[in-house]
Amino acid sequence: MLDRLTLSMRASHVLAALLVVAALVLAVVGSAIGDTFYLRLATEALIFAGLALSVDLLLGYSGALSLGQALYFGIGAYTSALVLMKVPSFWLAMGAAAGMTFVCAIIGGLIANRVRGVYFALITFGLAQVVAKVVYNIRDLGASDGMIGIPVIDIGIGPFSVSAGNPVGFFLVVLVIIMALYAATAYLLDTPFGRVLTALKANEKRVPFLGYSVWRARMVCYLAAALIAGLSGALYPMLRGFVSPELMFFMTSGNAVISVILGGVGTLVGALYGSVFLVIIKSVIGSWTDHYLIIIGLLFMAGVLFMPKGLIGFVRPHVERMIAPRHLRETRAPEQDAPLKAEEVKP
């Protein structure tokens, strides 16, 4: 039986496939004209799309707004950088970043998951700020300058080998990893556990009555989100050859939140599109004024106030109608928010 949730997720997958096609076209065109700049920019957009994906998993599915997801992005990036300086191995760096992020996320999760709502947002915000400030002052981690001179590595995939210095090759590697993270997240949400998360967002008080532990669901969600952010972050030093404390600053977390809101909360694929969209506006507007934040801020506020489903909210219903089987096609989707609006919001 195909329900609305599955249908909208399938529509997301169609849009994700479109994104992959667009990326492949870019890769072909880019390698044909020998472009480096735009391929690097697109690679960076994809890496930050991974961070946005982790924010969307938390915000869109368990309803927890993290204002400090860059913390795990930064931890992944620093771990990867440290490993690469010693041993130039792609898989070792990714593994170490995942392990380190996981351990840190257990500590962070134990602190942050004691609270919810705005308190959760403020705690995650504070955690990231504090760790960023500590990293900013530790000389062994390069302090405020960060670490430079991370070697360009060769990424061995089976019998093949791709250099991280090759713009097209590395772009494709990042594309594969980010899409794998997307697929893993989508799979996680499709399991019974994923449905518990969805239930959590709809009505947290009723979930325990059904025999599920709210705390455990939130914690697993938090850990999964942190892992996604950490693995995305681990790719960053391979692209840019340096890491800096700015990766952990609020602006990085904030950009991920902006991407998610612009793309569409709770759609997964919206996070990816939002991130690409944000990079495009930044480089287009940034080419004629330094004050692009005003425009991004206005777009962001308009997104929050007028388009709660973001860009994907315009596109996805059409895709849904195209791929829906007959019995779901005729009936209009019920207004999902309607019964909740009637409930009085407790102050």
Partner: protein, 296 residues
């Protein structure tokens, strides 16, 4: 160095400097906690309103308006700004299900814009207005800048004034009633909608006032709001959302923790200690020291 000298030349100045910082933090946190206590809105742009206040003071000060007049003038000018913000940005999403998150996000967007607008108008450089009260005094053999003493004194006056308005006037009773149960307050004739925008504007005006008062010490730059905001949020959480006394006690406590800790360990690690204090409070007393505005 004997114990008495340590007390006089190391500990006491540190405590007094911590007190000045504490008053600064309390001034910033006061508006934040009132807005949260009544409207349930985490105002992410509070730091930027603080910056706007400081820049207003700078611009008007350049037009030769006296500092003492600015202390009154800037908050009054901030009132309509807060009113408009509440009407345009908070009101439309106030009755949605996720209003905590939505209003937080909207004010975050506003913060982005405000910061960049300030940069556009005043340039990215750090500016420092002249200290309105120059010189230093010697108290018990400790030399203290006069302006910091003045700041501590006026901070106490402002806190007392705000507490008086909130807890001892009819206006404050309306605010507390609306915070406790807005439907009941509305049916008893409290103009709830006006109380909401008025309170938001009042919080914004307090942020502006903090900007005027703190600019001579902490300088003025477009991102100045970020420096205080984490500490202010920490104070609001530890003190209890919306509690004025909570903000005062938590503000002074946390800055003393910071000031005294930096005597013993490297200042780098004082932030984690302050943050750890907040986490400890959340573990043992999630509602904060004094609980919410309007609730007891």
């Amino acid at each position: 160095m004997n114990a008495l000298d340590y007390l006089q030349f190391v500990l006491a100045p540190q405590v007094v400097n911590g007190l000045a910082l504490g008053v600064a933090v309390v001034l910033v946190a006061l508006g934040l906690t009132i807005i949260f206590g009544l409207l349930d809105v985490i105002n992410m742009s509070h730091g930027e309103f603080y910056a706007v206040g400081a820049y207003l003071a700078l611009a008007l000060g350049a037009a030769h308006i006296d500092f003492w007049l600015l202390i009154v003038l800037v908050p009054v000018l901030m009132l309509p700004l807060g009113m408009v913000t509440e009407r345009l940005l908070i009101r439309p999403v106030f009755n949605t299900k996720d209003r905590h998150v939505t209003t937080l996000l909207v004010t975050f967007g506003l913060a982005l814009i405000a910061e960049d607008v300030l940069k556009l108008i005043f340039g990215p450089n750090t500016q420092r207005p002249p200290t309105p009260i120059p010189g230093a005094s010697e108290i018990f053999g400790i030399i203290l800048p006069n302006y910091r003493l003045f700041l501590i004194a006026i901070g106490a006056v402002i806190v007392a004034g705000v507490a008086f308005v909130v807890y001892r006037t009819r206006l404050g009773a309306m605010v507390r009633a609306a915070a406790y149960d807005r439907n009941m307050a509305a049916s008893l004739g409290v103009p709830v909608s006006l109380v909401y925008s008025g309170t938001f504007a009042f919080g914004v005006a307090l942020a502006g006032l903090a900007g005027v008062l703190l600019a001579p010490i902490y300088s003025i730059f477009p991102t100045m709001g970020r420096d205080f905001i984490l500490l202010a949020f920490t104070v609001v959480i530890v003190g209890g959302m919306g509690s004025i006394w909570g903000a005062v006690v938590a503000g002074l406590l946390l800055t003393q923790v910071q000031a005294l800790a930096s005597l013993v360990i490297s200042p780098v690690w004082t932030d984690p200690i302050v943050f750890g204090t907040m986490v400890a409070f959340l573990v043992f007393r999630p509602q904060g020291l004094f609980g919410r505005l309007g609730h007891a």
